[in-house]
Structures are given as C-alpha cells and as structure tokens.
C-alpha cells in the first residue's frame, strides 16, 4: 500500500497552460524537465512563467505549479 501510494504521488499529474494550450505535466516538474519533455534540449529557448522570465540558470530548480501559464519561445524570422 505504501509503495503504491508513493507511486501514485510520483505519477500525479497537473494541468498547466503551455503556449496558450492546456497540457498535463508531471507534478512538480521543473522548467528543465519540461524543456526535455518538449524535445527542446540544446535549442535556444526562453521561458516565461506567469509573465515573468525564468533565466536559464534557474531552469533546473524552478518547479512548475498547477495552473501556471508557461511560454516557451524562440527566435523566428522577423523585421
């Protein structure tokens, strides 16, 4: 029972908004883990959580919370 409880906790998933769309991600996932999940490792990618920039140095220890609004952005062609 204890094991399955722990497993349940580990598997808990939370709903967040990523680039304007509802997404379910693992509970307490960090920004770094999210970047990994999205296949963006090694890519230039800037992150904003609830309209505040999260610098790259903080990606590995910034945990995401239910309901967070996350923007993952990069550079595209523009004038």
């Amino acid at each position: 029972m204890r094991d399955s409880g722990r497993q349940g906790l580990y598997n808990a998933r939370v709903e967040v908004m990523i680039n304007g769309q509802k997404q379910v991600i693992p509970n307490s996932a960090t920004v770094s883990q999210l970047i990994e999940l999205r296949g963006l490792v090694g890519r230039a990618c800037a992150v904003e959580v609830n309209k505040e920039l999260v610098p790259k140095a903080e990606h590995s220890h910034r945990a995401l919370a239910p309901g967070d609004h996350i923007e993952l952005v990069t550079l595209v062609g523009g004038g």
Binding site: A44, K56, L72, T74, L75, V76, G77, G79
Partner: protein, 290 residues
Amino acid sequence: MAHSAIESKHLETTVSPADETLVIGDRRFTSRLIVGTGKYADNKTMQQALDASGADVVTVAVRRDRLMNEHGESLLDSLDVKRYTILPNTAGCFTAHDAVRVARLGRELLHQLKNPGANWVKLEVLGDKKTLLPDPAGTLDAVKELVADGFEVLAYSSDDPIAALRLKEAGATSVMPAGSPIGSGQGVMNPANIALCLELLKDGDLSYPVIVDAGVGTASDVTIAMELGADGVLLNTGIAHARNPVRMARAMRQACQAGRDAYLSGRIPKRKYATASSPWEGVISYIPGE
C-alpha cells in the same frame, strides 16, 4: 606648401573612415543597412539576400516554440549568429507591458546564443493591427522601463518630430522614424517630417543615430532616406518579397551607399531655370533673344 594645400583640399572632399561607420551606442558597423529575416520564401534565399545586402545587423522576432517554418526549417539553423549582430524586435506587441516581456525574452535568447545583440532591442509598441503604426504613449512608457532595465533601445517611432524627440529624451539609444507603414512599400511618405526628425534629434548631438525604419519599397526609397541625412535604413519586405530578393538586396546595399555619399557630398540647390553646363562663349549657332 602648394602641394599640401592641394592635398588637404582633396582630403576635404574624401569620405573619412568615420563617415563610413554606423555607430549605435557603443557598437560600430560597416554597413548602414539593417535588414529583417522575415517573409522569405525559404531560408537559402534569406541567407543569400542577407549576404548580398552587406548588412552587419539583422532583425528577428520572438515567438512561441513553433520552431519550423512551412518548409520544416528553423531560422536558427540557417542564420549565422557568429557573423551577424542580431537585433530582436518586439513586433506584435500592442502594450508597453507586453513589449517589455518580449524584450526580456529576446535578451535571454541572445544570451543563450552568446550573440552581441543581447541587451539591445528594436522596440515596437503598435497602435493597431491594420496600420501597424506605433503607439506613441505605449512606446514612450516601454522605452523608460527598458532603459531602466539596462537595455539599449532602438525605438520604432512615427515620423512625428516631437514624438521622436520624446523617445530620445527618455533614453532611447536610437530613434527609428517610419518612412511609411510597415511592409507598405510606400517609401518615405513625408520627407519633410523625416528631415525635421533629423534636425531635432541631432540638434547639438550630431552623432545621435537616426535610422529610417519601415515602408521601403525599392532602392530609391533607401537613397532618399540616406540623402536626407539618416544614419541608416532598416527594411525587410522590400527585399524579401521582391521577385528576385538577392538582386534587390544588392540594389538596396548600393542605394544605401549612394544616398550616404550624396548626403556627405552636398546636393546643389534647386533652381527654377536652367544653368547651361556647356559654355555660351564660342557658340556658333543662332541663340533666340540675342
């Protein structure tokens, strides 16, 4: 002595190296043309056009992580971030608050790329989607906030001389009055206003950089802006949507140089009547009225 007098006279009419350098804040560039990276049919054409334009600085936009274009290409796979200084824009922002957010995201991205363009931004705070004309109040608010946050701000402005002056007073590193609406191809619609912008922005501060941004449709538009005394021209659509973007990029480069040379050389005054280039003396023909 006679020889050195001739030599110094010659030097006066020669463009000095300083005249050939575009200085924006602490940065110096050989080319006075800044070009965008948007709207190209494919990245290869963009690469060739950027090369032909001779630009040292290229603009980019910050967008959600749709990394590929319709051809499955990513801009950063094709843009040589070691060759070009990247100037991120805040295109698509209609409030100062959003422009500040986008500027910070752009700075973060350029830091990750180790590009010297981090810390500067092409600020656009737009008034409406149809004209894409700048919102003067929102732009001013954003300049103040970004300057306080350590940015060097190149502020897209209307060609209203006082609006432009207020942006400079708020700390903008460069003010960039619009020739005409973004992507409209209408060229420099109000040269008198651009001339007044230049006069006010450079009053007692001749080296303050003023860049005509937006509306360029063809090479002569660039030349007109440069002949007025602009320090540079920023354009995108005029090249990207030309039938032959690479050739148009070359034309824009030459037009920019031609306009700068003409400005430094000093144009002749306009006169109502003709002044003959060939001497009257020794004419063998009948001259009416004589």
